[in-house]
Amino acid sequence: MAHEEKKLKLYSYWRSSCSCRIRIALNLKGLEYQYIPVNLFKGEQFSPEFQKLNPIGYVPVLVDGDIVISDSFAIFMYLEEKYPQRSLLPSDLQKKALNFQAANIVCSSIQPLQNLAVLKYIEEKVSPDEKIPWAKRHIEKGFDALEKLLKDHAGRYATGDEVFMADLFLAPQLHAGIKRFNVDMAKFPLLSRLNEAYSELPHFQNAMPENQPDAPSA
């Protein structure tokens, strides 16, 4: 039993919200995986080994036997198809499209504008004081859009009463917005309520940054 190698490997960084999305997905689907930390702060994503896995140097990367998949959206769709238990996309096409939209607001319009590389640039080229306001501005713009997009569709969770893709992409972004960038959540009542709901789900909480093997100890 000790020699059984876990089939799924996830290259991840504790604080990466993109990795967090997939950690939640794996938890929800009951999939065991080997956690392989990549220290982005120390530049481990630039090692030749990791570059071979993912030339753009991002986490997460999923390895499933011979298959190597990078990018959280691609990994998500792969998991949905290969491991259909606990489906994370609704069958109704309109609702499915809503999930895709919400996920993309996060992964195209919010996260890339507040990731490590961009913040470093703002800090160096504009000013260290501008870093947090820049991040807040883009996060709040995205949160405002999500508030409007989801308001007629949300139930207990983002797109109804069940957890779907939108929730997996939203939860880590909310966590980052609140914990790292001090976003004023009073402006976002729906998102605040969703955040509360996620805080009660063990599969979500176990995936959060502070609970990862490579999180710095308190």
Partner: protein, 222 residues
């Protein structure tokens, strides 16, 4: 690809688009590939039409493209493409093989998350104000080249006539408009990316791509 007139307006596809938007170009290209006709509704981004209350109802992020299909409203080019793939499966834009499918999704993500958002107009305007126009161009170029370099490496084991083999897929749909914009607007030297250059030659020869290009749109300004 001309829009049809007719009484069944509610069953016709409507695309909110701006001629110069590379994101809208992706969907115009995809609609052409799938042989889907649509009504073109221009949103003049230069005049701020994306901020009207009507448009905000369609997309609270104020971006194009937005697709309206009867009662369904989908914004964001990635989400629109996934929707089109499922609703109109003719001329599929995702391969069946899981590794290749994932590769297409990843390429599209690199473009729509790691490249395009960093050179969209609002970002560049901010940078122009804060760091000047030279630095602004450098920022755009650096991010484009970083993405293109990654794509160059990522695709080298999979490339054929097109990005991921002998057929046109989602990766091509996202890539071709991005390369066009990179060369025309940001003066990227494509000789640094021989694989991408070769693929682009195939992509830009497609009538579906050409018909989707900015200059051929109803709202193009010449």
């Amino acid at each position: 690809m001309a829009p049809k007139d007719g009484g069944e307006a509610s069953s016709k596809l409507v695309l909110y688009s701006y001629w110069q938007s590379s994101c809208a170009w992706r969907i115009r290209f995809a609609l052409n590939l799938k042989g889907l006709s649509y009504e073109y509704k221009a949103v003049n981004l230069a005049k701020g039409e994306q901020f009207t209350p009507e448009f905000e109802r369609l997309n609270p992020l104020h971006f194009v493209p937005v697709l309206v299909d009867g009662d369904v409203v989908v914004s964001d080019s990635y989400a629109i493409l996934m929707y089109l793939e499922e609703k109109y499966p003719q001329r599929t834009l995702l391969p069946a093989d899981p590794q290749l499918k994932a590769l297409n999704l990843q390429v599209a993500s690199i473009i729509s998350s790691s490249i395009q958002p960093l050179h969209m107009l609002s970002i560049l305007k901010y940078l122009e104000e804060k760091v000047g126009s030279e630095e602004r161009l450098l920022f755009a170029q650096t991010n484009i080249e970083k993405g293109f370099l990654a794509l160059e490496k990522l695709l080298e084991d999979f490339v054929g006539k097109y990005a991921t083999g002998e057929e046109v897929y989602m990766a091509d749909v996202f890539m071709a408009p991005q390369i066009a914009v990179a060369t025309e607007r940001f003066k990227i030297d494509m000789s640094k990316f021989p694989t991408l250059s070769r693929i682009y030659e195939s992509q830009r020869a497609l009538p579906e791509f050409l018909a989707a290009s900015p200059e051929r749109q109803p709202d193009a300004v010449h």
